[in-house]
């Protein structure tokens, strides 16, 4: 009788363990499918929580630009017509060749090289913080400019364009849209459908780094300059930016890398891609606000 009772207990125990394991596996699969479905709306899952609360990386604080690339286009004002590497079309070149900084100054257009499409390239410091739970604010001491990155929604219609335009921000890479199991080819565009299932689960923290980056789409920009020497972008330009943060394995410094893609059907043959690198600094003690200047690098 005792043996029979123990045997029954063993069976119940085994069934329980198997059920628990099965539940784990199924829960994972359901999670993957659910994540896939959520992916169609560009990882809307965290929408119930404030963007600030679900931020995968903390971008706030003071940052200083470190000009290791395109120094000669950023730390000096390049000569007129030096638009090397910028994919300008003929119309764009014509406008660039007519650059007149004195005229910009006289017309009150000294901020043309401090607009959203160029400002991250201007040497200086950033102060990034959350004025509220769904807006990330970037103050820049160069040109004393401010960008507001709005999480959720879309650009309001009928607004007058501004130097910094209207920026819509979202966290990316924390959902399945950017995750693939192999096979090559482009990542599917969730906006044209087909994102559900088959892409596995959302990533988790691996190797001490949290997955995810900030994507920012900016429109309604007032026409300005991609470079200080009058290389133009038009009011039709749109901009995608990707902000990522990581630690330097050698020095331990914290870096913010901004990859910028500007598309402009009026002046560019194809999107222009630039990069800007910022190193975290402890505070704003070096903050050096300057006015917009048409004839100086910052």
């Amino acid at each position: 009788m005792k043996t029979y009772f123990r045997s029954a207990l063993v069976r119940v125990g085994r069934i329980f363990m198997f059920a628990a394991a099965l539940a784990l596996v199924l829960a994972g699969r359901l999670d993957a499918q659910g994540a896939g479905a959520r992916g169609q709306a560009n990882t809307q899952a965290p929408a119930t929580r404030a963007p600030r609360a679900v931020a995968p990386k903390d971008l706030t604080g003071y940052w200083e630009s470190i000009v290791t690339e395109y120094w000669r286009y950023r730390m000096i004002v390049p000569d007129k017509s030096d638009y090397v590497i910028v994919p300008l079309n003929a119309e764009g070149r014509k406008v660039a060749d007519a650059w007149d900084p004195a005229k910009d100054k006289a017309d009150g257009n000294e901020c043309k090289a401090y607009g959203a499409a160029a400002i991250m390239q201007v040497p200086g410091r950033l102060h990034i913080y959350w004025p509220d739970d769904s807006t990330l604010r970037i103050d820049m001491d160069s040109g004393t400019q401010t960008r507001l990155l709005h999480f959720g929604g879309s650009a309001p219609q009928g607004e007058a364009p501004t130097w910094q335009g209207y920026s819509v921000a979202s966290w990316e890479g924390i959902g399945p849209d950017s995750q693939r199991g192999g096979g090559g080819g482009p990542i599917r565009d969730a906006t044209i459908g087909g994102a559900a299932g088959a892409v596995g689960r959302a990533p988790r923290e691996v190797g001490g780094e949290v997955p995810g980056h900030l994507k920012v789409v900016t429109t309604q920009m007032r026409p300005g300059y991609l470079r200080k020497n009058g290389v133009p972008y038009s009011g039709q330009a749109t901009m995608e930016e990707y902000f990522d943060r990581f630690s330097d394995p050698y020095s331990g410094d914290t870096w913010l890398v901004v990859t910028t893609v500007v598309a402009d059907p009026q002046y560019l043959m194809e999107p222009s891609i630039t990069h800007a690198h910022f190193k975290k600094i402890p505070d704003g003690s070096g903050w050096d606000p300057t006015p917009c200047r048409a004839d100086e690098p910052r």
Partner: protein, 326 residues
Amino acid sequence: MGSHAVPGRRTALIRFLLAAIGSRFYREDEQMRFTKIDWKMKSLWFLLLLFLVLSSRSLWAQVDLTGEWSPRIYNDGRDVGDYTGIPLNEAGRLRAESFHPEQFDLPENICRPHAFDIGLRVAPAQLYISTELDSATQQIVAYHFHAYWSDFRVWLDGRPHPPEYAAHKFSGFSTGKWEGSALVFTTDHLKEGFITRVGAPLSPKATVTTRVTRYGNYLTMVFMIDDPAYLAEPYIRESSWVYDPQQIIPAFPCEPSPEGTIIPAGSVPSYLPGKNDILTDFAKEYGIPPEAALGGAETTHPDYLKKMKTMKTLPRTTTKHFERQG
């Protein structure tokens, strides 16, 4: 492979589950042997299963990097004497100043590859990324990066880096891991080479950490170069590509000329310290203070602009210098 294929992790998991279910029916006769210790042992399968389920999640947290990528950053377009933005130390600057552009015309240098990172920056750096799979498990053990002037593998299977005395190559030795949605790999065992095509040096002691991130159809690589011999601090730079499956990417295109080169055998063009008469040409053409053009960590900070205002520039010889770069 065929029917002898070793099952993948997911298949193994299913088999394990089936075996567990099976044991429920096949092993009734063993119930008498079920002791307290045995009970604990049997419980281990649950923990093992839990481990398998959880560990398998990280494998799915990978971004697909494979395919063909078209570069969107071309030649650095630098001239001799242009070390702007590079945190060279004194030794690095001295070495850079001794570089003569005709060194690339030496027979032994004509087909000399670039170090892996600059090889991805010189045009045309059409890039093809593929995976290498373990034949038994079909798991990714390496990513293979191939461009015109750069070809290397990034091992993901946990193998250690070779000892210091092992061979150094232009492709170096790279191991990587996924950090979130970025593939991060570290390269060492690099052969002495250049950071730029105009002589900024890279020593065999250099280590490069690269972060590969895919933003939709854009691929970005951030290179962090640490060279204790020639750099005062790590040097960060970045390159981008656009997904483009329509490319034709040839193999390494270089063939040494059978006729030899214009440089006579036995001669190595170079400049002795202080004797480089073309060193300041770049600074003159661009209107940059010569000292600033020679790089250094200080020159990369915005506050250096204030210092530059106090520095002298040389009389400019042209304002159309950029035209030769197209």
